[in-house]
């Protein structure tokens, strides 16, 4: 999907080939095999952290805690619990692994909840504290062996095969392959799109229908599960675990692996884990210098290769897909077909009626929105105007759930949405564009618009993980919908351009396309004409008119009065948060109160 995932997918075969080669060459060398096995174990945990860090932009310096939970769970079950005879050793191993992974995922969920309250270094500190607490519990718990930890954990037994030596190496890398596959599935699905949206702009993501809180929690749980999974394998391979092995230094190592290789996706984590895993084995005599060397390495990587080692490898650019080349009759037919479909997809699916009753919003002593009431008739275009600071955007925010009103009620299609989260309101068919076009800067135009269709997708986390049919079809439909919307707004030629490289006028149109891809019944547009030149304004006017003809209800904040008076069915005027006029454009324009709101009076008392 995204450029990085694409690079990631192309790098994986090379990584797999390197592992195979390594395994074959190292066959007789026990130290090398051991190093390779540890590398694989760490890679599994590092993939989770890489996704958290690179795809969702959340940090965790406590991943060793999850690793420890996996290791201790399996270690405890293998040594202190008497299993019924009926359960063969291989099943014991599988069940213990599953339980260790599940417990780690559960704790990841808890950390995710905690993480919702923190950002930046505070999040780093909270996760660090989490890791320390987990290690502390292991250290103090008599049942878990205290400082000595759990020893004499038997090798896992899979049929006739004990997981040790060469078998462990191949088994560990098979585990990496499985995790890489699942993670790639996840990142290519609806969940991956939600991750990227959250990483780029949480507010925009939420307004497009992404449940950002749930998405972040899911990411923490997934990263926790992978670390726990790695931990279960670690203990059954090494045969022992103690608190110091799953302490802060492992958390930092994991962080370094993700950053060194290149956070985001899976291949960077594998490369990073391999380098660190092998140098840990051969760098034993460096023991005291390790933290210093690793610290310098992290800083150097962040400064000089922000995309990690993987970022240094130039993957040949993919051929632009789906960009129609001009000319040809078939071409014309295609365009006609696509636009016909666009008419259907961007025509309002649900038509929610908006009712605002006595909405009031205060910021400290300032009443930003003061007892405003109105209802919008379906299929009309209403402009909301007023001088700077009149409360227009505040009212918009209240309608789409970004900022709650202090008093009053907002209903969409009969549902009282006054206290709803934005993504739930978006799911009702309420779209919104922002004053400063909050596009996802890292993504292409097409990817941005695909996220616009996010609310129409129905794949779940598990669908994505296993790439079940719903994950594939809903993703394909979202892309089709996005292409149709782009065709409709005559923006197909920009599909593969990165949003950050767009000219200002195009950025606004792409944002409009993104809002339309969800086929909203009600669209809130915040200052769409700001910064546009005359021809762009004319195009915008045509677009807005066309949308209204298709039955989309539009509420428009705009300062370009020519545009407002030209296309609106109705104009509402706010001043100091109060609605001072409401009616057809011609009437509102000549209202003395409106004139004084805009131009002032010769007296200071206004």
């Amino acid at each position: 999907m995204s450029r990085r995932l694409h690079d990631d997918a192309r790098l994986l075969p090379a990584v797999a080939a390197a592992v195979l080669l390594f395994g074959l060459l190292a066959h007789g060398n026990a130290t090398l095999l051991q190093a390779g096995t540890y590398a694989a174990i760490y890679a599994v945990a590092a993939i989770g952290l890489s996704i958290l860090l690179g795809n969702v932009a959340q940090i965790s310096i406590g991943q060793a805690g999850f690793f420890g939970i996996g290791a201790y769970t399996l270690g405890y079950l293998a040594t202190a619990v008497t299993w019924p005879q009926a359960i063969p050793p291989w099943l014991q191993f599988v069940l213990s692994t599953a339980l260790g992974t599940a417990l780690a995922a559960l704790l990841g969920l808890v950390l995710g909840f905690i993480a919702l309250r923190f950002r930046g270094h505070y999040l780093a500190m909270a996760t660090l504290a989490f890791g320390l607490i987990v290690t502390g519990v292991f250290h103090e718990s008599k049942a878990l062996g205290g400082a000595g930890g759990i020893g004499d954990v038997p090798f896992a037994q899979l049929g006739p095969l004990a997981i040790s030596g060469v078998a462990a190496f191949w088994y560990a890398w098979a585990m990496v392959a499985l995790v890489a596959l699942l993670s790639t599935n996840l990142l290519n699905g609806r969940t991956g799109r939600a991750f990227e949206a959250v990483r780029n702009d949480e507010l925009a993501a939420e307004v497009l229908g992404v449940a950002t809180r749930r998405t972040k929690i899911a990411a923490f749980a997934y990263a926790g599960a992978l670390a726990g999974f790695a931990g279960t394998f670690y203990v059954s391979y090494l045969g022992l675990v103690d608190p110091s092995a799953v302490g802060i230094s492992l958390s930092i190592d994991l962080l370094l692996m993700a950053v060194l290789g290149g956070a985001g996706g899976v291949s960077g984590a594998i490369v990073g884990a391999t380098i660190i895993g092998i140098s840990n084995i051969y760098g034993h005599n460096l023991e005291n210098w390790r933290p210093v060397i690793y610290g310098v390495l992290v800083i150097a990587v962040v400064i000089f290769f922000p995309r990690g080692l993987v970022g240094l490898v130039r993957v040949p650019a993919r051929k632009a897909t789906g960009t129609p080349t001009p000319g040809g009759e078939r071409q014309a037919r295609d365009v006609a077909r696509i636009s016909a479909r666009a008419e259907r997809t961007t025509a309002a699916t649900t038509v929610p009626r908006l009712v605002v009753e006595n909405a009031t919003k205060r910021f400290g002593g300032l009443v930003a929105v003061d007892d405003v009431s109105f209802a919008l008739d379906n299929g009309t275009l209403t402009a909301l105007i007023g001088p700077n600071g009149a409360g227009k955007t505040t009212l918009f925010n209240a309608i789409c759930g970004v900022g709650r009103v202090d008093a009053g009620r907002i209903a969409v299609g009969g549902a009282d949405v006054t206290s709803w989260q934005p993504h739930r309101i978006a799911a009702l068919g309420v779209g919104r564009s922002f004053q400063n076009a909050r596009l996802f800067a890292d993504m292409t135009v097409l990817e941005n618009v695909v996220l616009g269709a996010y609310v129409t997708e129905n794949a779940t986390f598990v669908d994505d993980l296993l790439r079940l049919r719903r994950s594939r079809t809903s993703g394909r439909e979202a892309v089709e919908r996005a292409r149709a919307t782009l065709a409709d707004l005559r923006l197909e030629h920009l599909s593969d351009v990165a949003a950050r490289d767009l000219a200002f006028g195009d950025r606004r149109r792409v944002e409009l396309a993104r809002a339309l891809a969800s086929a909203p019944g009600l669209l809130l547009v915040d200052e769409p004409a700001a910064g546009l030149n005359a021809s762009e304004r004319a195009r915008l006017r045509d677009d807005l008119r066309r949308l209204r003809e298709r039955g989309v209800t539009l509420l428009l904040i705009e300062h370009d009065m020519r545009l407002v008076m030209d296309i609106s069915d109705r104009v509402m005027v706010l001043r100091f948060g109060k609605k001072i006029a409401d009616g057809p454009p011609a009437l509102v324009r000549n209202d003395p109160e409106v004139i004084s709101a805009y131009l002032g009076t010769t007296e200071a008392s206004a």
């Binding site: 600071g389 010769t602 007296e603 200071a604 206004a606």
Partner: protein, 245 residues
């Protein structure tokens, strides 16, 4: 254009904006020594951007020239402008909110701490008695009007020849707006030239010598304040006159 009196500030064919966004599309204007010149226009016309481009506050100049007191400002660093006699009071005041009123004032003289510093501080308190009473209060505890006065006082500490004043009346109660305009009028009377950006068109035109009306990054109207106050086109620009199609 500038007649017998050579312009203090001269802006010629200025194109400016932010990143990919071009806001000003060929603006020319001038301010003579001691003149009060207003820049009016609806939201988004480019008024604040004009001031920000003149003072290199954050807008980038893509083409055109700005000369101040005969000197091309293209090579001047923003922090050097105050030394040249050009002060900018940006929208939103931008005070050092955690610092006291007195410290804010003294920072206004940061580039120019000589023997006259104490004299200038005393002058400021004489001009703004409300601030003298609250010398040690932190800036964020001031009322909106007091904050605006402090922002003005701070800018005046450098004894500028030209003051760029961005929407000083925004968000203030009517009596406070009257006070601010009285101060602006007094500054003009004492010889400080002012380029004033305002929303409140009619009140501004009552005080200004001349005015320019911006629309979509271009100058739509210019003339004496008295003429513009009677010009129906001003209202049409703000509220969308009869559509021209």
């Amino acid at each position: 254009m500038s007649g017998e009196r050579s312009a203090l500030l001269e802006v010629r064919d200025l194109y400016a904006g932010y990143g990919n966004l071009e806001v000003l599309r060929g603006v020319s204007l001038h301010v003579g020594a001691g003149e009060l010149v207003a820049v009016l226009g609806p939201n988004g016309a480019g008024k604040s951007t004009l001031l920000r481009a003149i003072s290199r506050f954050d807008a980038t100049v893509n083409a055109g020239a700005v000369t101040f007191a005969g000197r091309d400002l293209a090579s001047a660093k923003p922090e050097a402008l105050i030394g040249l006699g050009l002060a900018h009071v940006p929208e939103g005041r931008r005070l050092f909110t955690e610092m006291s009123v007195d410290d804010n004032l003294r920072l206004g003289a940061y580039t120019n701490r000589d023997a006259t510093l104490e004299v200038r501080v005393a002058e400021s308190y004489a001009r703004f008695p409300a601030l003298a009473e609250r010398k040690t209060a932190s800036a964020y505890s001031l009322s909106g009007g007091e904050q605006q006065m402090l922002a003005l006082a701070r800018a005046l500490m450098g004894r500028p020849k030209l003051l760029l004043l961005d929407e000083p009346s925004t968000g203030l109660a009517p009596q406070v707006v009257a006070t601010i305009f009285a101060i602006v009028a007094e500054l003009r009377a004492t010889g400080t030239a002012i380029l004033l950006v305002e929303q409140n068109a009619y009140l501004t035109l009552k005080h200004a010598d001349r005015a320019y009306v911006l629309e979509s990054g271009r100058i739509a109207l210019e003339g004496s304040a008295a003429d513009l106050a009677r010009d129906p086109r001003v209202q049409a620009i703000y509220l969308g006159g009869a559509t021209d199609e």
